[in-house]
């Protein structure tokens, strides 16, 4: 029952990650992405998915999906109906599922973050309904598969599990909120394991939207650079398998990392702009640290929200300074959006997996295009690929509408 709920454990269980899957413009799967992030590769090109000839900016980080999807429990017809975001989500979910070694069957909650779900299908629906309104072919399928809850259900069917599907849509914080909500569900004793993550695909409406706001960089996305001039859009998905430490140990599962803290707050300053002093970002980081029982001194790397827009990065830089205090001067920070763009609802989840990579493989993801720091940054930006001793990382995600979320992960010995 969702209510009354089972009693909350006297001591919340520790939550570990036993599987992670990722799809970005750098590649499909952990290895390709880890190699790309470690080297600081950038994956931008002229958009091929829709017409950008009349857009101010014409590039984004497009994903090259595999020609055929790996086999799942979905029938050929259902598989054929999946659109780009659903395919990215499924590929990431399957990688996480396999890595975790979970077996089909049983009740596993699925919590996903997305902003647009199958927006491109919605665009196709709109075009056909306007241009040839008496033609109904494919419209019912588009109506169903456009909706993110259908895409979530397809993941469950494909991997062979059942359970509640929850779709969180808090703009660019959605992916981090989904993982945070999954963490809370396990700690409250509602579930022993949860599959969670985020995804979003490029769509004409969203691309045009950010372009209309003049938020897209006409040059190169350079988060925290003094000359930064905007963000770049990307697409992709990331999914993680969360479970209690006890459950993972019982199964003899290989543990990737521990999720130790989550904070979420709301910034009411403006629909699309953060509070200039970074108040909500600061509160989000402080809350996550409080939950994790760590201080900034314990954090070895910050994966910043770092969109590359002037307003976001100066507010986040101030927030990091205020939160980290003296630690800021030696705290490595970078934004992986410099390489794969802003994945919106998928960003928080993808960046969580990048943090897992850093913890597992002991390196920091650089921003190679970064040249000159914004005066607001009194912390070192990771500019070159480098190995590092990384025991705890903090990842920020801030959304349109003001939802701010922070996740903290700890290395598993």
């Amino acid at each position: 029952m969702l209510f009354p709920s089972p009693p909350v454990p006297a001591r919340p269980p520790r939550v570990v990650i036993t599987g992670a899957g990722i799809v970005t413009a750098l590649g499909v799967g952990w290895r390709q992405n880890a190699d790309g992030f470690r080297a600081g590769r950038a994956a931008f090109r002229v958009v091929s998915l829709f017409d950008v000839s009349r857009q101010r900016v014409k590039t984004a980080a497009e994903v090259d999906l595999p020609a055929t999807l790996p086999p799942t429990r979905l029938g050929a017809r259902a598989t054929a109906r999946l659109d780009r975001p659903a395919k990215m989500l499924l590929v990431a979910a399957q990688e996480a599922w396999r890595q975790a070694g979970w077996e089909p069957g049983g009740q596993i909650p699925l919590i996903l973050g997305t902003t647009a779900g199958g927006m491109a299908l919605g665009e196709d629906y709109f075009r056909q309904a306007v241009q040839t309104p008496q033609r109904h072919r494919n419209q019912p399928t588009r109506t169903l598969y456009y909706q993110s809850q259908t895409q979530g259900r397809m993941v469950a069917d494909a991997l062979g599990f059942s359970g509640p599907v929850t779709i969180v849509s808090n703009a660019c914080a959605s992916g981090a909120n989904a993982i945070g909500q999954a963490w809370e569900l396990i700690r409250r004793g509602r579930a022993e394991r949860v599959l969670t993550g985020g995804y979003d695909a490029l769509s004409q409406l969203v691309f045009s939207g950010f372009d209309s706001l003049q938020a897209l960089s006409p040059t190169v996305c350079r988060p925290f650079d003094a000359a930064r001039d905007g963000l770049a859009l990307g697409e992709g998905a990331a999914v993680v398998a969360l479970e209690t430490l006890d459950a993972a140990r019982r199964r003899g599962a290989s543990i990737l990392a521990e999720l130790i803290g989550y904070g979420a707050v709301i910034d009411c300053h403006h629909l699309t702009q953060p509070h200039p002093e970074g108040d909500a970002a600061l509160a989000s980081m402080a809350l996550a640290c409080e939950n994790a029982r760590v201080t900034p001194a314990d954090i070895d790397y910050v994966n910043a929200h770092g969109t590359g827009t002037p307003l976001n990065d100066s507010a986040e830089a101030l927030a990091i300074r205020r939160w980290a205090g003296d630690r800021a001067s030696s705290l490595p920070v970078s934004s992986t959006k410099a390489g794969i763009g802003h994945l919106l609802g998928g960003a928080g989840a993808v960046e969580a997996v990048v943090c897992l990579m850093a913890l597992r493989e002991q390196w920091l993801p650089p921003e190679p295009a970064f040249e000159r720091p914004d005066p607001a940054c009194n912390f070192p930006i990771v500019r070159e690929p480098r190995d590092a001793s990384v025991n705890a990382v903090l990842s920020n995600s801030f959304g349109f509408g003001g939802v701010n979320a922070t996740l903290i992960f700890r290395r598993w010995p």
Binding site: S5, P7, L144, Q149, T150, R153, S162, D211, L213, L271
Partner: protein, 344 residues
């Protein structure tokens, strides 16, 4: 586990801009007026139950964040403020409010408008419109309007998702992350939404609006109604069709009594209604199908069902009310609200 009390209700619907108007229409059992919907294909006779204009212009529309907001935000704001009525008047210092907004179609008016502008010429697409297309926009505006919101989340799903929103709010209350939580379900009208519905139910009449529940663990704030149960979320799958999901949901709620009332989500569609007919065939009490009166309001309709159920119990018309939400493409979830032992 503490008791969870309903301390406020709000509704904007084709019946009008408050819960009283909703209750009046439900008592009359007469469908609200319908009107044809202008759309690109005049051969398709789409209809909608419009929300009537408010009797007086709501003062919240003067708030800078709501001047350009789409109807879905206006409906959500009006429902939220009505639900907060009593609480807002007695707001203690340091009061922390949680906000869960549930949507299915979401901000479809501005989305369609912005995409139309993009197709015409992206260089002239309005930067003022785009931010309003985001699912999270209504929650953001509401948080700013209300001022004391410390936690907010937007959930997207089929109409049964509204009860997931209620469950999330209960978690926040029990974790003491908020003193009170508003759960809002809202939708707005657009021919595109009606066109999509038409593919699944030719006779469907689209409606829009919002419903809001204000929840608290404080018995003194209760309207005399408490949350008694929310079933599991029975997600549709290859192994669990809508009928089996509806039956599983029904099996988790009490069998009911002749004095109790059921608010189901049937809408005069033999095919879509079949699971609920099977699940609730033995229901001994009164039954109300709001959508037959108010139209298919998706998430707003789910919220109206819960609001009407609580209102029924609060007015003493029934000792308990069940809500059956069998969604279209995600899940079946039910809930039960009952007369609270702690009276205000």
């Amino acid at each position: 586990m503490s008791g969870v009390y309903v301390c406020g209700l709000g509704a904007v619907s084709p019946a009008g801009w408050d819960v009283a108007a909703l209750g009046k229409v439900l008592q009359s059992q007469l469908p609200v007026p319908r009107q044809p919907l202008a759309r690109p294909d005049p051969a398709k006779p789409l209809q909608a139950c419009p929300v009537p204009p408010p009797l007086t212009r709501p003062s919240f529309l003067g708030h800078p964040r709501l001047r350009r907001a789409s109807p879905i935000t206006q409906y959500a704001a009006a429902a939220a403020l009505e639900a907060l009525g009593k609480l807002a008047a007695n707001r203690p210092p340091g009061d922390r409010l949680g906000l869960v907004v549930c949507l299915q179609s979401g901000c479809v008016q501005y989305s369609a408008r912005f995409f139309e502008e993009t197709l015409r010429d992206p260089l002239t697409a309005s930067p003022l419109v785009f931010p309003e297309t985001v699912f999270a926009a209504p929650a953001s505006h509401l948080a700013t309007l209300l001022g004391n919101v410390t936690l907010a989340s937007t959930l997207v799903g089929d109409p049964a998702c509204f009860l997931q929103g209620v469950a999330l709010a209960v978690d926040w209350l029990e974790e003491q992350r908020a003193n009170a939580c508003l759960v809002i379900g809202a939708e707005e009208s657009h021919w595109l939404r009606a066109d999509a519905l038409w593919h699944f139910q030719r006779s469907s009449v689209m409606s829009s609006g919002a419903g809001a529940l204000c929840l608290s663990l404080e018995p003194g704030l209760s309207l005399g109604v408490e949350l008694n149960a929310i079933t599991d979320a029975h997600t549709f799958s290859t192994d669990l069709n809508r009928t089996r999901a509806a039956l599983a949901m029904r099996s988790q709620l009490p069998s009911g009594a002749p004095t109790e009332v059921l608010f189901d989500s049937q809408d005069d569609s033999p095919q879509l209604d079949a699971p609920e007919r099977a699940a609730w065939g033995d229901w001994p009490g009164r039954r109300l199908s709001l959508k037959r009166i108010l139209g298919e309001g998706l998430m707003a309709a789910a919220a109206w069902q819960c609001v009407a159920a609580c209102d029924e119990v609060a007015r003493g018309a029934a000792p308990a009310a069940n809500v059956s939400l069998v969604g279209c493409n995600q899940q079946a979830i039910g809930a039960r609200f009952a007369r609270s032992h702690s009276q205000p």
